[in-house]
């Protein structure tokens, strides 16, 4: 079954009946995801929503012109694109106008643009439905997307646009980063208006080209999701571009496949929803399992940190007592149940000796480790005393921070405090020994 899945995929890419649409949709989704990365840095995911909805009346206006001049299929789609770009551009201009000149809130301006243009589009669609039902059907396809309507010449356009965008991002990579991060700083460097305009133009073009595969209603989802998903795996902006294009390509390919085969006999699903669902699934998967901030990984790290803290607390207790401690004593001390204690034991096994009668005793390695923790604790206490932290709370806070201080922080503390010998509670600070085998 897996083999037939891959051979079906291969067929989609190579068989001319399908390959044009599938490859075209892959190309346009990749371009969309790149624009999506830029917008995710701006934290405004809803602009695509405005552009997509505002394109609707434009497409129909293009259709009217096309009917009037008796255009063929190719010219018709050019007119659709031109019309769409015009109305989307007007809508964006109106949006900024409302926000800047009239101080309308972002929320209402977005909503006005979206609903007004969609409404005008609905009106125009009803006219076209009466005048030319065939063209009406072609227009309505844009609502949900249907890649099967793609022609070879669309493919060329998508490829060209993608290459231009790729070159732009490659060349202006640094500038985009600065611009998106801090606009004021960027304007001091002379980066600004031109870059912004170019990004807006590219956004308009890419979004409108993407309407054929994703559809008006779902485009903003397709733009946002690959970028968001990539955020859970990588940090660098360049890696985000690469990873999100991979996600977008997979979504488009798998989406195309599923829309053909999922419906069963005779039913072809509109491609927009299917591609979006695939992309959303990838996103949810990334949220759960992604390396950077994925939910599952976070849970694992939390557990690991808790166990380490318990480990360090045991070592400290054993060190201070200078004697062995019974299991039960330790469990009570840590307020931990048997299962947690088991994992902590696993972790601490190299640093302690497990004695008959269910108790633990420190080994040399454990002694060194414990001294380090106590050293960090007392150094931190000196620091807190110096910055005027509430005296009664110094010890409690140090109990928390002793587990996270890095070597670097220790260096900074020593520099600042000048190698103190005793903590505020008059206890001696252990000296720095050779680093233990385990890094903190």
């Amino acid at each position: 079954m897996i083999k037939s899945f891959f051979s079906d995929l291969y067929m989609l890419l190579s068989d001319p009946t399908y390959s044009v649409s599938v490859i075209g949709s892959i190309l346009s989704c990749i371009s969309l995801s790149w624009i999506g990365v830029i917008y995710s840095l701006r934290k405004s995911a809803l602009v695509a929503e405005v552009i997509a909805h505002s394109a609707f009346p434009g497409i129909i206006l293009g259709a009217f012109v096309g009917i009037y001049i008796g255009a063929d299929e190719k010219w018709m789609s050019m007119l659709f694109i031109l019309g769409a770009i015009t109305t989307a551009y007007l809508s964006m201009k109106k949006l900024t106008f409302l926000q800047e000149k009239w101080h309308k809130s972002a929320d209402s301006s977005l909503m006005i643009s979206i609903s007004a243009f969609l409404g005008i589009g609905v009106l125009l669609a009803s006219i076209i439905q009466s005048v030319s039902p065939m063209v009406y059907k072609d227009v309505v396809i844009f609502l949900y997307g249907r890649t099967a309507t793609m022609l070879y010449f669309h493919l060329i356009i998508y490829a060209v646009v993608m290459v231009i965008l790729f070159i732009f991002i490659l060349v202006f990579h640094r500038r985009i980063q600065i611009f998106e991060f801090d606009k004021t700083f960027a304007s001091f460097l002379g980066i600004g208006r031109l870059l912004d305009t170019f990004i807006l133009m590219m956004t308009l073009v890419v979004v409108i080209l993407g309407l054929r595969s994703c559809g008006i209603l779902l485009l903003s989802g397709m733009m946002a999701t690959p970028a968001i998903a990539s955020r859970f795996w990588v940090r660098k902006m360049s890696s985000m571009f690469i990873l999100s294009s991979a996600f977008a390509a997979i979504s488009a390919l798998l989406g195309g496949y599923l829309s053909l085969y999922l419906g069963g006999e005779g039913i072809v699903l509109p491609t927009g929803p299917v591609i979006t669902i695939v992309s959303a699934s990838i996103t949810f998967f990334s949220i759960l399992v992604g390396i950077r901030g994925g939910v599952v990984l976070r849970m694992v790290r939390r557990m690991s940190f808790t166990i380490r803290c318990h480990e360090e607390n045991i070592l400290k207790a054993l060190y201070k007592k200078n004697d062995k401690m019974a299991f039960r004593e330790i469990m009570e001390f840590l307020q931990a149940g048997v299962i947690l204690f088991f994992f902590v034991l696993l972790r601490v096994r190299k640093k302690v000796k497990i004695l008959h009668g269910w108790s633990l005793e420190l080994k040399e390695q454990g002694r060194v480790y414990a001294e380090r923790i106590i050293r960090l604790h007392r150094l931190w206490e000196v620091y807190l005393y110096e910055v005027g932290f509430a005296k009664g709370r110094i010890h409690v806070f140090a109990e928390e921070i002793e587990h996270v201080l890095t070597d670097e922080m220790e260096e900074m503390l020593l520099k600042r405090l000048g190698n103190p010998t005793h903590c505020p509670h008059r206890q001696k600070i252990p000296e720095k020994k050779e680093a233990c085998n385990e890094s903190v």
Binding site: G293, R301, Y383, L384, G388, R393, I401, V404, M412
Partner: protein
């Protein structure tokens, strides 16, 4: 204690920003207390966290022995003017009347007593001429006075002001201090986030000096000692907040 607002182990942080670290302080009843400290050191956050307007990471607050939920209709909060939607279609009089909202009946009708009180407050705070104007038409000083008038309307026990002296003219500033003193003299508790140390020294009873952590709290003259001010205003490094944030991130599993 029943004559104090007791804050225990208040900690507030968001993502990668440490706002407040383990604050333990007692605010005296019937006194005028100033919350001071450098910019961004958590003064507004402190006030919002006590009032549950912002999420606390941990900490317990009691108001004269009662919880916030029990005391909340006895607390008047005057937020920073920049947080208000000045374009809202509402008149000056209606905003002041809003102060008695908690007392209004099911259909939201205000009683005669409240309507009369509103008129008095309009005069007292110099807003009578503007009583039917939209709030968008007010100047900076008038805006601040409007919200203080609303606070008066609430007839609360505790009055909390967040940076009331920002963006106001000298007359308004004096009026605000006088109002706060008036409230204190009539037995109410006043808490005010303020940045002008001279004024604090002159007019306030108690002070709480914050710099992400509690530097000092108590009578104004004790808190405003040089050692405390140096600690708060001349922080040499950010090790404190860095270590704190690292600890919180590890606890959340982010690193």
């Amino acid at each position: 204690m029943d004559d104090e607002i007791e804050v225990s182990s208040l900690t507030v942080h968001y993502e990668t920003i440490a706002a407040l670290i383990d604050i333990n302080v007692k605010i005296k009843k019937g006194a005028m207390t100033a919350i001071i400290g450098p910019n961004g050191a958590g003064k507004s956050t402190f006030v919002k966290a006590i009032l549950n307007l912002t999420k606390k990471t941990s900490g317990v607050v009691s108001f004269f022995g009662k919880s916030f939920e029990e005391m909340k209709d006895n607390i008047a909060y005057v937020c920073q003017t920049k947080e208000v939607d000045w374009g809202f279609p509402i008149t000056v009089r209606e905003v002041i009347l809003m102060g008695s909202y908690a007392r209004a009946n099911l259909f939201g009708k205000y009683c005669q007593k409240d309507l009369k009180k509103c008129e008095l407050l309009l005069v007292k705070f110099g807003l009578f001429d503007k009583r039917n104007a939209l709030i968008s038409e007010l100047s900076g000083g008038q805006r601040q006075r409007l919200f203080i008038a609303r606070a008066y309307m609430q007839e609360a026990q505790i009055y909390i002001f967040d940076e009331p002296m920002a963006f106001v003219d000298f007359t308004t500033s004096e009026m605000i201090i006088e109002s706060m003193k008036e409230l204190r003299d009539s037995g109410h508790t006043v808490i005010c986030v303020h940045h002008n140390l001279d004024e604090v020294k002159k007019e306030f009873d108690e002070a709480i000096l914050l710099s992400h952590h509690l530097v000092d709290a108590g009578p104004v003259h004790e808190v405003l000692r040089k050692k405390n001010l140096v600690n708060a205003y001349q922080a040499k490094d950010s090790i404190l907040t860095d270590a704190f944030i690292l600890s919180k991130e590890k606890e959340c599993g982010l690193v």
